[in-house]
Amino acid sequence: MKDFGFSVIKQRTIDYDQFDGRLLNEVLEMEPSFKVCLSCGGCTATCSAADLVSFNVRRMNLLLRRGETVELETEIQKCMLCGKCMLVCPRGINLRNVIMLIKKSIHKYKPVNL
């Protein structure tokens, strides 16, 4: 391959058609309450871990729904599972189970060549 002093930049666009929904489907099947997330961010606002590090619980919904497994895996490790988020969620989502389900299965769906 020739070196031109630059390389083709990877697109930042979320290509929805390329997205692997298996992890999402697994999580939603086991924890259907996660379907009703409003992305209000209440969980993130109250999050104990978010006080200490850049961590956004709300975004996990998005990462999962956009198939961003690599980022999701690193993000989710920051959660301390304290459960505060569940006490503020206006839709009563069982977030701790969502996190545990992701932790359980994420290795199955991580892209291989990364």
Partner: protein, 341 residues
């Protein structure tokens, strides 16, 4: 006996006429179309409980048929002139009417989606509006897209022609959010295999049971909501559509291939209302909707004494709000006539 002319034979006009007849007045409804009932004729099912629109329309029309008031259909008002506490009305049918009061109930028009060129309405094969979809949602409606296949992925675009400086409409049309949720559920019921996405800016579930329906859409029907306004749509070689938006919650651009794109068109005051406003010399807001004397206590009063306003010519309104507004208009007319007798 007092004579009242109602301009517009939609549900607002008919309901006002009905209530005024009940109050013992002589009412003439002027309708530009052949049929009365206005835009309700275009709708199949109503939010938030999927009541067939026919059912409501038939119930209203049946009630009206029992009343004794005249309807001038396929007629437009040319001019309204005040003369000695009377209004002289000239119509396109060359009739000259004399009225003691006038009710403007000219309703709204749907936003012409082809004005949002980037969405390709009337250009791409499978871009339709919510009004088009409404007809397809009837039991015999054909939802198939290219090669007779059922669409596998469908996207709804909220706020088409509303809240959009580019369309010239800054206001919110109020009913499209819930219409989108309603239609998404209906589509999912018809096509359980399809994935359905709603691209929204805000979801404004203002009415009774609206929020509940939204939750049901997520919970029971797996409708997915993506916060972002569609920038453009393009047709692919297989007639499917590539749509682009920002996933604003991720902060990244998003593209998606869909088989059917539904544009949730908003309401505009429209030509009928503009003509009526000109004929009656009453004022319009910047949005084009008719100006009411105040938004709280006199929402049925125009700036001209004796000219009243009913329904969605004053602002985007749902069917139930329109009916209520029409009834209150009749009440106000009746009170005003009594006071001025």
């Amino acid at each position: 006996m007092k004579h009242i002319v109602v301009i517009g034979g939609g549900i607002a006009g008919m309901e006002t006429a009905c209530a005024l007849t009940d109050a013992g007045h002589w009412v003439t409804v002027i309708e530009k179309e052949e049929q009365v009932g206005g835009k309700l004729n275009k709708w199949s099912y109503l939010f938030p409980d999927f009541t067939p629109a026919d059912k409501i329309l038939d119930a209203l029309l049946e009630k009206h048929s029992e009343k004794d008031f005249s309807i001038l259909s396929q007629t437009e008002v040319l001019s309204v002139n005040r003369q000695n506490n009377k209004f002289n009305i000239e119509t396109s049918g060359k009739q000259k009417l004399e009225a003691d009061a006038v009710v403007v109930a000219t309703g709204y028009e749907l936003f012409d989606a082809s004005r949002k060129e980037e969405y390709g309405y009337k250009i791409y094969d499978h871009v339709i509006t919510s009004a088009d979809l409404e007809k397809l949602l009837l039991p015999d409606g054909d939802l198939s897209v290219a090669a007779g296949q059922n669409p596998k992925r469908i996207a709804f675009v909220h706020c088409v022609g509303s809240r959009d400086e580019k369309s010239g409409n800054h206001y919110c049309s109020k009913v499209c959010c819930i219409t989108g949720v309603k239609q998404a559920i209906e589509l999912k019921k018809r096509l359980p295999e399809a994935e359905i996405y709603c691209f929204y800016m805000d979801l404004r579930m203002y009415g009774k049971n609206f929020e509940e329906l939204y939750r049901e859409a997520q919970e029971k029907y797996d409708i997915q909501f993506i916060r972002g306004r569609l920038s453009e749509a393009s047709e692919k070689i297989d007639k499917s559509l590539l749509i682009k938006s920002e996933d604003t919650l991720s902060g990244r651009p998003l593209k998606m291939n869909v088989d059917l794109l539904v544009l949730l068109v908003g309401m505009e005051a429209g030509k009928g209302t503009a003509k009526a406003a000109a004929a009656c010399s009453i004022g319009c807001e910047e949005s084009g909707f008719l100006r009411t004397s105040d938004p709280f206590l006199m929402s049925n009063f125009s700036e001209q004494e004796g000219i009243f306003l009913a329904g969605s010519c004053t602002a985007p309104m749902s069917v139930n709000d329109t009916i209520l507004h029409a009834r209150s208009a009749a009440q106000e007319v009746n009170n005003w006539l009594k006071k001025n007798n």
